[in-house]
């Protein structure tokens, strides 16, 4: 009668020996909570004199069968009786061959392998970024002669997603940074009576440095991660393969629109961010230093030569280009599993921001003597 719980009944045999009768439903659901039964089973299992009677067992699932088989010491006991299908089921555990575990490598060898892997993985990555870049140049060349093949809709989509939809957050961050910067500088300048130089400090640092950098970091976090994840999911759902099967180049349809769109939109965003930061700075300067917005705007072109704005724009274009390129590179590295998706997206954002800051340093060195009115 199925449905009844399991029991282990002790009986005395006619010849005076000990008999154990298993009764009821021997299933995982029943056996897991019945710790006492399992304990008793284990205690008596190895005893060669016990007679085992399984005729009362209604249901026997793998877990219980394994527990019984284990209690018996991985073989049939000397004296056992039961339904043939149950005995057959139990005997299956005897036939199961477990694979040999993979031998663990010694520590030194493991370390060597890991270091070698990291080393070669680094060069692999550099190589694959270069390959992607080369492919991109070839694609651009191809598009020069095939203007019709330019993926305008994809470019426009990315411009909207990475640019238009980022207007709010970049404005907010820029505005707040402008206020903070202006406030902190004002306190210092007041001490030396050089209040008027707030315009130089804010104008120079924001237009040349902070605007492009802030916009780039925000875009790397916002759009770079999205691009990596998007390409990664396309790998998981085999959309990349579908594109290849249709003869559509990944770099032309996925990488190029993103790279071009970011290279176009990031300078615009950086101007927007700089404007918001200057606006914040002006408000703050007006409040603390009594420098009116008219005076600020009038003096600004004088304090900040035009070449600074151009340097800022050039930097932003390069940043946009590299953020998109890095995002796509990590996107293509994603393997079809959840862990890899998370890892590579993180790597993408970290690498993009690091590269942006490194390139900023390079720009600072290259244009050391450009754009200063002194």
């Amino acid at each position: 009668m199925p449905g009844q719980t399991l029991r282990l009944i002790e009986t005395r045999l006619e010849n005076g020996g000990l008999g154990m009768a298993l009764v009821g439903d021997w299933t995982l659901i029943n056996l897991e909570p019945a710790k006492e039964v399992a304990k008793k089973l284990r205690a008596l299992g190895a005893d060669p004199d016990v007679h085992w009677d399984l005729n009362g067992v209604d249901l026997l699932d793998s877990y219980s069968a394994l527990m019984i088989w284990q209690a018996w010491g991985w073989r049939f006991p000397a004296s056992v009786q039961g339904k043939p299908e149950h005995l057959c089921f139990l005997a299956r555990w005897g036939q199961l061959e477990l694979p040999q575990p993979v031998p663990q490598l010694p520590f030194v060898q493991l370390m060597g392998l890991t270091i070698n892997k990291m080393y070669s993985s680094f060069f692999d990555q550099v190589l694959s970024v270069l390959t992607l870049l080369g492919q991109l140049v070839l694609d651009l060349g191809h598009l020069l002669f095939n203007v019709k093949a330019i993926p305008w809709p994809d470019i426009s989509n990315t411009v909207y997603d990475a640019g238009v939809r980022a207007l709010g957050i970049t404005a907010l961050v820029g505005f707040l940074i402008g206020i903070v910067l202006s406030y902190l500088s004002a306190l210092q300048l007041k001490m030396f009576g050089g209040e008027i130089f707030i315009i130089n400090i804010l104008g120079m640092s924001i237009i040349r440095e902070l605007g492009p950098l802030l916009a780039a970091i925000l875009v790397a976090g916002r759009s770079g991660s999205a691009m990596t994840a998007q390409i990664g999911i396309m790998r998981v759902t085999e959309e990349l393969d579908a594109l290849s099967a249709l003869g559509i180049s990944h770099s032309l349809r996925l990488v190029l629109p993103k790279v071009v769109a970011l290279a176009v939109v990031l300078p615009l965003l950086s101007v927007w961010t700089s404007a918001a930061a200057l606006f914040g700075g002006i408000l703050s300067a007006q409040g603390i230093l009594d420098i009116s917005y008219k005076q600020f705007l009038f003096k600004l072109p004088e304090a900040v030569p035009l070449s600074n704005l151009l340097i800022g724009l050039l930097k932003s274009t390069t940043f946009g280009f590299s953020i998109a390129l890095i995002a796509c590179h990590f996107g293509f590295r994603i393997k079809p599993n959840t862990e890899s998706l998370g890892n590579e997206t993180t790597n993408s954002v970290v690498a993009a921001i690091t590269v942006v800051i490194m390139m900023d340093a390079v720009f600072a060195i290259l244009f050391m003597n450009v754009g200063f009115s002194l």
Binding site: T27, Y63, W93, P99
Partner: protein, 263 residues
């Protein structure tokens, strides 16, 4: 209607999806049926008629708009809350695309339910997992592969092994033989039939595979026109005159499959 001999009771279930603009799409219209314990119920219907949705409602992944679903005589919520058993012990589920954990290898995927209910003796787990892998026809050295390295048929087998590892009282299978070659599909039918003889579990399976319906299912539910139009053993279904049934079961291929079926 809801007795203890009933494994799954579906009581006046309506399912409607609204797109938020006032358009309501009715998927299930007042469905009632009860599946007895030990039954292997096949669920058939045209593509997109809500078979998978019904299955998801039985598991509790989706809540019907109206009506109740009972598992083993209790409402779904009460049943899963019952502290003596966990959801995993109640039902094993095989999803259409396997739904394996992509970060874990085959072994860990199959061992996952065992570890979740607190079995942590490694030797025990190894035996149970490898036995299941052998049962579903996988080689033991496949155990260290990641899901991404498996073929479609292997993914199905691993998913089935995971669904079966706790040998639950209720097995819900969403298109178990779709994407399997005929031999693998026959193996699957034989495997399930054998396990069913041993463990008397209840199975609900969504399928389009006529062989599975013929060889495995004790009863077949036909979902059409948003309703269960019949829930009967196969011969009775074949005698039914509904247009969908005529189309599905009386085409030349189906006739060949069902030729040897006793009426």
């Amino acid at each position: 209607m809801i007795g203890t001999a009933v494994a799954i009771g579906i009581d006046h279930v309506w399912t409607q999806f609204s797109d938020g603009l006032g358009n309501v799409k009715t998927v299930h219209q007042d469905i009632s049926m009860s599946i007895a314990k030990g039954e292997i119920a096949g669920l058939v219907g045209a593509s997109g008629c809500g078979k998978t949705t019904l299955l998801r409602e039985i598991i509790g992944l989706q809540v019907p708009s109206q009506g109740k679903i009972y598992l083993m005589g209790q409402t779904l919520g009460d049943y899963l809350k019952d502290s003596t058993k966990t959801a995993a012990q109640v039902c094993g589920v095989l999803f259409q695309r396997g739904a394996l954990f992509s970060a874990l290898d085959v072994f860990e995927n199959v061992a996952f339910p065992l570890r979740e209910i607190g079995i942590n003796e490694e030797r025990l787990i190894e035996h149970l997992v490898f036995m299941k892998l052998v049962t579903v026809g996988l080689n033991s050295h496949d155990a260290w592969l990641k899901p991404a390295e498996l073929s479609g048929g292997m993914i199905k087998r691993v998913a089935l092994a995971r669904a079966l590892i706790l040998e639950p009282g209720l097995l819900l299978l969403d298109e178990p033989t779709a994407g399997l070659d005929p031999i693998a599909s026959q193996d699957f039918v034989d495997l399930l039939a054998e396990l069913h003889r041993q463990l008397h579990f209840t199975v609900v399976l969504v399928t389009h595979d006529l062989d599975v319906l013929r060889d495995l299912c004790t009863k077949v539910a036909v979902l059409a026109d948003q309703k269960i139009i019949a829930f009967e053993p196969l011969p009775a279904i074949l005698a039914c005159g509904h247009p969908f049934v005529r189309e599905f079961f009386h085409n030349p291929r189906a006739k060949r499959v069902f030729r040897n079926l006793r009426r």
